[in-house]
Symmetry: none
Subunit: 224 residues, 2 copies
DNA sequence: CAAGGGTGTGACGCGTTTGTGACTGGTTTT
DNA sequence: AAAACCAGTCACAAACGCGTCACACCCTTG
C-alpha cells in the first residue's frame, strides 16, 4: 500500500488522524523548526504556514530545502490571502506551490491527491535565486542568467551555503562547518582554494564575482 | 549545557518561567528602559514591544544597540499589526527582525530555535545607526547615508568601538585596549594615525567628521 | 589493475595593511 | 616672545593575508 506522509507547521481546525483512503495510507505529523520528528519512507508533503510575513515561513522553506532528510519533500506554502508578491517570494524560497488558506482537511487531501494522480510531484521546482544567480537544489545545478555553472560537488555546497547567508561575512571556520566537514580537520587556508575554484567556475559561465573577500575575516556573498 | 537568555519588555499572557528544553536552558527576564537587569552569558534574545509604557519601542531598540552590554543581542520587534512602514522603521532602529503579535510562548520559542539551528546565527544581521552613520556588524560594513565607507580591518574596528561609546572621551589607551591590541605594545601616537585614516575614509565617502579631538585627552564620537 | 577526476595541502609571490619616526603647524604655558 | 606641548600628516619598511599553482592522495569507473 502506498504511504503518503503529510507534515504541517501548525495545528488545523479539524482533527487529522492518520487514516487510509483510496488504497493509500495517510499519516499526519507536526513539523517543527528542527525538521520532522520522525523519519519516513515514501513521498513527503509539507505544508508551511506563512505565519510571519517574510520570516518564519520562508525561512522554514529554505531549511527544508537545505536539509538532506527533507530535500525531496513537496513543500506547499499556506498563504493567508492571495498576494502576488507573497506567492513569488514563496516560490523563490523553494516552495513547490502554494494554497490560499485557511487550511482544511479537504484542502490538504485535494491538493495531495491531485498532484499524485498527475505525477507532478517529482519534477517540482526546487530552486531559489539571488540576483543573476539561480540555485537548483533538486538538480544540484547552479546558473548565471540561464547559463549553467559547472560545479563539482564541494563547490556546489560552498555556493549554496554562501548564498543562504548573503550579505554576511562568513569566516573560514563557518564555511568549513557549514559544509559539514569534520573528519579530518580541515586547514582553514584550504577555504581559499575552494573560493578560488568556485570563482573560476562562475567566471567561466560568464558570471560576475559575487564573492567578496573581507581581509583577515572571511568571505561574503554580496547581494545587490 | 547551552544557555539562551530571553528578555521581554512586557508580560505575556502565558507564564514564562525558566525551563530546560532540548538540551538548552532558557531563562526569561523583563527588559526595562534601563536595559537588562542582570548580566548574562551566552546568546541573548530581546523581544521589544512596539508600544511600551514611558518609552517608545523604537527608542528602546536604539538603546539596546548603543549599549555595549547588549550590542550582541538579537532583537526582535513585536508589531501589533503588519504595517510595512512600521517594519521598515523597526529594522532601521536596529532590530534584527520582527514578528506580528501578540506574542505567545510558542512564538518566542519557535523564533529562537529557528535562528539557533541555522548554524551561523551567532551574528544574525546586526547593525545599528547613529545619525547618518550606519554600522553593519554582519557584513562588516559602514555607510554614511547609504554611501559605503571603504574601511580597512583596523579602521572598522576603531569606528565600531568609537560608535559603541558615543559622546564619551576615549583616551588613546582606551582605544588601543578597545581594539584588543596587546602584543606588541602599541605607541600611543599611532592612534593619531588611525584616527587620521578613519577620518579620511569617512570623508571620501562624502561624510562629515563625527570624530572630535579633545586636546590632551583623546577622541570622542560626537552624536549630535 | 589502470585511468581519471575530485579534493586537501604546502609553498611561493604579490599586493595591502599597518606601526613608526620625522616633520610641520597650531596652541598653551612660562 | 620663547619654549613646551600637542595633533595632523607623510613616507617607508616590515609584516601580514590572500590568490594561485603543482602535487599527492583519495575514490570511483572501466
Amino acid at each position: 500500500m502506498d504511504v503518503v506522509n503529510i507534515f504541517l507547521t501548525s495545528e488545523l481546525g479539524e482533527s487529522l488522524e492518520d487514516f487510509v483512503h483510496d488504497q493509500r495510507r495517510f499519516t499526519f505529523d507536526r513539523l517543527g523548526p528542527e525538521g520532522p520528528r520522525r523519519l519516513v519512507e515514501g513521498p513527503m508533503w509539507a505544508f508551511v504556514d506563512w505565519v510571519m510575513p517574510e520570516l518564519a515561513g520562508l525561512e522554514m522553506c529554505r531549511r527544508l530545502r537545505a536539509d538532506a532528510r527533507t530535500v525531496d519533500a513537496h513543500v506547499t506554502m499556506v498563504l493567508e490571502e492571495d498576494d502576488p508578491e507573497d506567492r513569488r517570494r514563496a516560490l523563490r524560497a523553494g516552495a513547490d506551490d502554494y494554497v490560499i488558506g485557511p487550511l482544511t482537511r479537504t484542502a490538504v487531501l485535494d491538493r495531495v491527491l491531485a498532484l499524485q494522480s498527475r505525477g507532478v510531484e517529482r519534477q517540482a521546482t526546487r530552486w531559489f535565486e539571488l540576483g543573476a544567480l539561480t540555485i537548483d537544489m533538486a538538480a544540484l545545478q547552479a546558473r548565471w542568467n540561464e547559463a549553467p555553472i559547472v560545479l563539482r560537488p564541494n563547490e556546489f555546497r560552498l555556493l549554496r551555503f554562501l548564498a543562504e547567508n548573503p550579505n554576511r561575512v562568513l569566516t573560514r571556520e563557518d564555511l568549513i562547518n557549514g559544509l559539514g566537514k569534520r573528519e579530518p580537520p580541515i586547514d582553514e587556508r584550504t577555504v581559499d582554494v575552494w573560493i578560488g575554484r568556485l570563482r573560476r567556475a562562475i567566471k567561466s559561465a560568464g558570471g560576475g564575482n559575487p564573492l567578496r573577500t573581507v581581509r583577515s575575516l572571511g568571505y561574503v556573498f554580496d547581494l545587490n
